[in-house]
């Protein structure tokens, strides 16, 4: 090996080493400058960044307030349910994981596609993606056993709104649902930071503010994987207020039981305070499915059900009031002096406007003969009220009937009701851009034509009768109780009592339209039946009820209260295509009053819970029960 130890070469290499060392020193200076900038000059900024990294504020959703019935029974509560979600970042093989989950629990196509959609949408890394909103205890156990195999699996218990009486309360309580993007813009997002659900309709919506409660916060130190290392401070959430309702779950169940398969609605009010004791719209649906995450397909199925279980007939059903408004109309007539108790007409079975051929027919082909106001109520004489309506005139009629609450929303804590139509000259001008015809006044006298009312309005107007001319707005919650009410300045106290006597004779009188349901009555009912045509019957045309298809049969109506002299229950009842009010609606009303006044002794005895639950189960078994 040749050794090269020549001096020039050695100097050259030494030179190069020193040059390199000089470059190295420069580069080290550069690094040092960078470190001074990072660690000394920008120190504060990075401290903030590292604190933001480490500390997270986690909102703690408050427990939603309970909803209680008049006896303190829980109608809406929060039960822990397990939710299955996935942290995709922690999964080695997401598809294999999903397959493994599918082997253990059922995963519907809707749940799977929802999961895939959420997986693709923007989210914070390591945020869990929901796979199945709620799983039963059995499935949870199967999954929990193997949970150790799946680091990506998250099983979390979450309070879920549930309605123990299911179908019985859905139309009155409404339900909660996931906050929609539209709702998110209209709420105080901070208050909802720990809450995913909001009251969508019914009592749940009306009392959203009180039920929600105050969000709590917890400041925690988290690792980069989002694991909580320790809690730094915690401010407990304040649970929402409990809301106590006038609703009586026993009565509610009884009404559904009595209605059976029929479509219709019942509103039962407590005339002493205006409380809604029962609100029934049949068929009903199970609100629990909404809180458990309802798929679009299921929702569509519910919506397309021909018996329309989602439709709240009690608040939104707009039915012609028919003869049920005759007592109120009588009071308005008395007030304006167009009729008095002595006014008599001769009824030949029809009414004619002078100079016009058209015959406005009575329900009784050959008429009621000589009829005064009392008899017109008891026998429900149409001709008398055609005459009375024409004498009263539409403007006075509208003004007077408006005092009973027709034509407007009741408001209060009732959500989603419709106002109905109280026909008047002005209404027709603004709504239909047409002039009013006298013929319309005539048929308005028997609650037909443009008149439409909701069962709630009918019950409210009946409550004014029961309270002898004192209006009080119906409401669910005992919070809104207000004994004062508002005096309806119509006629005299004596007139009210006399009208109620006439309504009593609808049951108790020899010729009353509801006399068939009055056998062995141990108390006195004041009521009025109604039968409204669903399709117009042409002049002179004979018709046979049974020949009409069921959907075109008359609606059967009933309004009333009992005991007549000191009422504790007011009801308005509508049976869609039920036939005649006297033969169908009145017997049902009798059963309701019997239950309330005799079986339950004016509702003082607590409801029979096994019975109530039994009715709910029975509803679920019906093919047309809006079930899934």
């Amino acid at each position: 090996m040749e050794l090269r130890t020549g001096v020039p070469e050695r100097r050259l290499i030494g030179q190069r080493v020193l040059i390199a060392a000089f470059c190295g020193v420069c580069l080290l200076m550069l690094l040092l400058t960078r470190l001074i900038w990072l660690q000394l000059i920008e120190h504060e900024r990075f401290v903030t960044a590292s604190e933001a990294n480490r500390l997270q504020t986690i909102p703690i959703g408050p427990a939603r307030g309970l909803i209680l019935d008049r006896n303190g029974l829980v109608l809406a509560e929060n039960t822990p349910r397990l939710r299955v979600s996935v942290v995709p970042e922690e999964s080695d093989d997401l598809e294999a994981f999903i397959d493994a989950v599918r082997e253990r629990i059922t995963l519907t196509d809707a749940e799977f596609s929802g999961f895939q959609k959420n997986l693709k949408s923007r989210r914070r890394p390591r945020d869990p993606v929901i796979l199945k909103e709620i799983i039963g205890d059995e499935e949870a156990a199967i999954l929990a056993v193997d949970a150790y195999q799946f680091p990506e699996l998250r099983l979390e218990a979450r309070p879920t709104r549930s309605y123990p009486f299911g179908r019985l309360t859905s139309h009155s309580l409404g339900y909660v649902g996931r906050l929609s993007s539209g709702e998110l813009q209209n709420i105080d997002q901070r208050r909802y930071s720990g809450t995913e659900m909001i009251g969508k309709i019914g009592v749940e919506k009306a009392y959203e503010n009180a039920l929600l409660g105050q969000v709590g916060i917890e400041r925690v130190e988290t690792s980069a994987r989002g694991q909580i290392m320790r809690s730094i401070e915690r401010q407990e959430p304040v649970p929402g207020d409990n809301i106590k309702l006038h609703l009586d779950i026993g009565l509610q169940a009884k009404l559904y039981d009595i209605l059976g398969d029929r479509r219709g609605a019942v509103v039962a009010l407590d005339p002493r305070n205006g409380g809604i004791m029962a609100l029934v719209s049949a068929p009903s649906f199970d609100a629990n499915i909404f809180t458990h995450g309802l798929s679009n397909a299921d929702y569509r199925r519910l919506e397309e059900d021909s018996s329309n279980p989602l439709f709240n007939r009690a608040l939104r059903g707009q039915y012609p009031p028919g003869s049920t408004l005759k007592p109120m109309l009588g009071m308005v007539g008395l007030h304006y002096g167009s009729v008095n108790w002595k006014t008599e007409i001769r009824d030949r079975g029809y009414f004619q406007i002078e100079g016009i051929e058209h015959k406005y027919r009575d329900w009784k082909k050959w008429g009621h003969g000589r009829v005064n106001l009392e008899k017109a109520i008891i026998e429900s004489c149409d001709t008398y009220f055609y005459e009375a309506a024409v004498r009263l005139g539409i403007d006075q009629m509208a003004e007077g009937m408006g005092l009973f609450g027709f034509g407007r929303r009741m408001g209060q804590d009732i959500v989603g009701e419709l106002p109905g139509i109280l026909p008047s000259r002005e209404w027709k001008r603004s709504a239909r851009k047409e002039a009013w015809y006298l013929g319309e006044t005539v048929i308005a006298g028997i609650g037909q034509g443009s008149w439409v009312t909701t069962p709630l309005q009918l019950a409210t107007a009946t409550m004014v009768m029961a309270r002898r001319g004192n209006f009080i707005a119906p409401h669910y919650s005992t919070r809104l109780d207000d004994d004062s009410g508002r005096r309806v300045n119509l006629a005299s106290t004596l007139d009210w009592e006399r009208m109620i006597d006439a309504m009593e004779n609808v049951f108790h009188g020899e010729r009353g339209t509801a006399r068939g349901s009055a056998k062995n009555l141990k108390y006195r009912i004041a009521g009025k039946t109604g039968t409204v045509q669903v399709v117009g019957i042409a002049q002179e045309e004979e018709y046979e009820e049974s020949e009409l298809k069921k959907r075109f049969r008359d609606h059967a109506l009933f309004i009333g209260f009992a005991p007549a002299d000191s009422p504790s229950l007011v009801i308005a009842l509508i049976l869609e295509n039920g036939g005649s009010g006297g033969s169908t609606a009145a017997p049902i009303a009798r059963k309701i009053f019997d239950y309330w006044l005799l079986d339950r002794n004016e509702g003082e005895r607590p409801p029979d819970i096994p019975y109530v639950l039994g009715v709910n189960d029975e509803l679920a078994r019906r093919p047309n029960a809006g079930g899934i």
């Binding site: 050259l12 990072l38 480490r54």
Partner: protein, 378 residues
């Protein structure tokens, strides 16, 4: 083969002399020991108080020191003779890696042969390549001619290309650098150097086009880490946050939230200096930089003292490569260089790199001893 003066003083034990008998440079050896110990302290915190990791790294370190001691006793002539064989052997190993290598994350870097522990042949090449280039250039006149340079370039390109194919961009660049350092030290003319640099710059677009997507993103992230803070920019942002939040004296040993809560990725390997910077602050990093500077300074002194050209070129190249490691790693962690996956020498967790590094220092020392002996026995 000891100098007579050394033998005469042997009966009275003096550590310096004792160390020199085995070829060790005591100053450098102590510096390396202190730095290694400091590294273990940092590793204990960075690994989340893993005794096992510290123990394993300690064993690696002791293995490395032993290897260093062994290498430092080798005769320079033997080393020079072995160099071409070592180079060929390492190149074959690299070929084998491409054929039957194992690895993770899409890179094939390890060789798992029966009977011997898993190792990375590229670590062997870290020593073999600068030695080979030094060997080649000192066989021929210095400064080298263009022809010799071209051959040297081929000798560099072959293993570098193999390592880049694994792919291991960081290591291939470092190894290419170690070869280039030899050429630079051998006195390549400035004109040629300028030309080479210009060619290098011109070939950057070509390099860009053959780079993997993830490599490109890493480079892009350097210019704007916030463009993808949860993806490619995550490492840089978290490392800068760790360093910056450490301030002058740091958050205290084992109290760094970035490292302990695992916001900082690779906290015990490539990004370990961010843990130091977070927990011991600017002060702690300056301590480390001081140790590195002393090591480098001593290596430069040893390089200048090496008698043979081969020894000087090899020592210089190893020194510069060590510096390149330090600079690239610190530059990467502090966000001035792209994230290329280069460990911090002597500090980052990892067995083979510690051993190959200390073997390098052993070579620098060996170049001293042989000279001394030669000068004593002309």
């Amino acid at each position: 083969m000891l100098a007579a003066s050394d033998l005469g003083q042997f009966d009275s034990f003096r550590p310096k002399r004792f160390a020199q008998r085995f070829g060790l440079d005591p100053f450098l050896a102590v510096l390396l020991l202190v730095t290694g110990g400091f590294g273990l302290v940092i590793l204990y915190s960075a690994s989340g108080h893993s005794n096992q990791m510290v123990l394993r790294q300690g064993i690696h370190f002791i293995l490395g020191l032993t290897a260093m001691g062994l290498v430092s006793t080798c005769r320079r002539d033997t080393i020079i003779k072995l160099t071409p064989f070592l180079y060929v052997f390492a190149t074959l190993m690299l070929l084998l890696v491409l054929l039957i290598g194992v690895g993770a994350k899409g890179a094939q870097r390890w060789l798992d042969l029966p009977g011997i522990p898993q190792f990375q042949p590229s670590e062997l090449m870290k020593i073999a390549l600068p030695a080979m280039i030094s060997w080649w250039l000192t066989r021929n006149p210095i400064p080298p001619t263009v022809i010799h340079l071209l051959i040297a370039a081929v000798l560099i390109a072959l293993p570098v290309g193999l390592i880049a194919r694994q792919p291991d961009l960081g290591t291939s660049i470092i190894i290419a650098g170690s070869g280039f350092f030899v050429i630079f030290l051998a006195g390549i003319s400035w004109r040629l150097l300028g030309l080479l640099l210009a060619t290098g710059l011109a070939s950057l677009p070509v390099l860009w086009s053959v780079m993997h997507d993830y490599q490109r993103t890493r480079v892009m992230t350097l210019f704007d880490p916030q463009s993808d803070p949860l993806g490619a920019g995550w490492n840089t942002i978290q490392a800068m946050t760790a360093l910056g939040s450490g301030g002058l004296f740091g958050k205290g040993y084992s109290l760094g939230t970035q490292a302990q809560l695992k916001f900082l990725p690779e906290s015990h390997t490539d990004f370990i200096v961010a843990v130091l910077g977070e927990e011991m602050g600017f002060f702690g990093i300056c301590m480390l930089l001081l140790l590195f500077s002393l090591i480098l300074g001593r290596c430069i002194v040893l390089t200048l003292r090496a008698e043979s050209h081969f020894g000087r070129l090899l020592s210089g190249s190893i020194t510069l490569t060590f510096f390149a490691y330090v600079f690239v790693n610190l530059g990467m962690v502090s966000g001035v260089l792209p994230v290329v996956g280069v460990p911090l020498p002597l500090i980052s967790y990892g067995g083979t790199s510690v051993v190959s590094l200390l073997v390098g220092f052993g070579l620098i020392m060996a170049m001293q001893r042989t000279n001394r002996v030669l000068s004593g026995e002309p």
